[in-house]
């Protein structure tokens, strides 16, 4: 979504909110998410993904839009936090296929990281899965 569209959408949401209504903005942010192997015996980090320009631009547009609606006096920020959201796959190849299909424009896994995660996974316990640690941002805004 482009910046102007985001600001317009935030105005539409504001219109439908009751006085003092609450807006929760919940979204992932690019942050070279880590690729890990997880099993009953623990976790190992294989490496990190590379943020792609489109994902970084989307994040900047979203932050810019929220700054703008705050400066217009439409909303005031009440609370913000970060947390981890994990995607799990049974095998490294399933993870790679998903990334190439769904995250092509946002995250890229270098061959070196893929080889490392395959190696760690093959040596880990039988219950080992691979996962990506996505950085999430949650913000609570109040309508003014």
């Amino acid at each position: 979504m482009q910046h102007e569209s985001m600001v317009h959408a935030l105005d539409e949401i504001r219109r439908t909110l009751k006085p003092n209504g609450i807006l929760i903005d919940l979204r992932p942010v690019e942050s070279n998410w880590s690729v890990e192997v997880s099993s009953s015996t623990g976790q190992q980090v294989a490496g990190r993904l590379n943020d792609m320009p489109m994902g970084l631009a989307d994040d900047e547009a979203a932050f810019h839009a929220m700054r703008e609606v705050e400066s217009r006096g439409w909303y005031i920020k009440e609370k913000e936090d970060e947390f981890a959201f994990f995607y799990y796959w049974d095998t490294p190849s399933e993870m790679k296929e998903f990334m190439e299909d769904e995250w092509e424009d946002f995250e890229k896994m270098e061959d070196e990281v893929y080889l490392k995660v395959k190696s760690l996974w093959s040596q880990a316990n039988a219950d080992a899965r691979v996962r990506v640690r996505v950085k999430m941002l949650i913000t609570r805004w109040k309508k003014l």
């Binding site: 919940l26 947390f83 609570r140």
Partner: protein, 105 residues
Amino acid sequence: MQKDPEGFERKILHGFVDVKDKHVLEVGCGEGRLTWKYAGASSLTVGFDPDHDALRVARADMITHLHESARDKSRGTPVHFANASASNIPFSKETFDIAILAWSL
């Protein structure tokens, strides 16, 4: 593929906002993955998304969740899914207590 089996998203969402007995609008609900993590407590939930295919999944899953609600008499929340875009939200002003931008900004 499995998303957030630890339930971190649900836990932090409930820590950020109390949806009990509230009217909630979810913007960009997609297949309703997040919707069912809070809708049981709200008095009304409306999720909308421009993606017809995603909404088809959300509506199909509703049958399962409504059956779960029917078993728990304390639940039984009206949930509606609509095909719409955030550029023109098809509701009158001051309808909702809470709006959730679900991975959509």
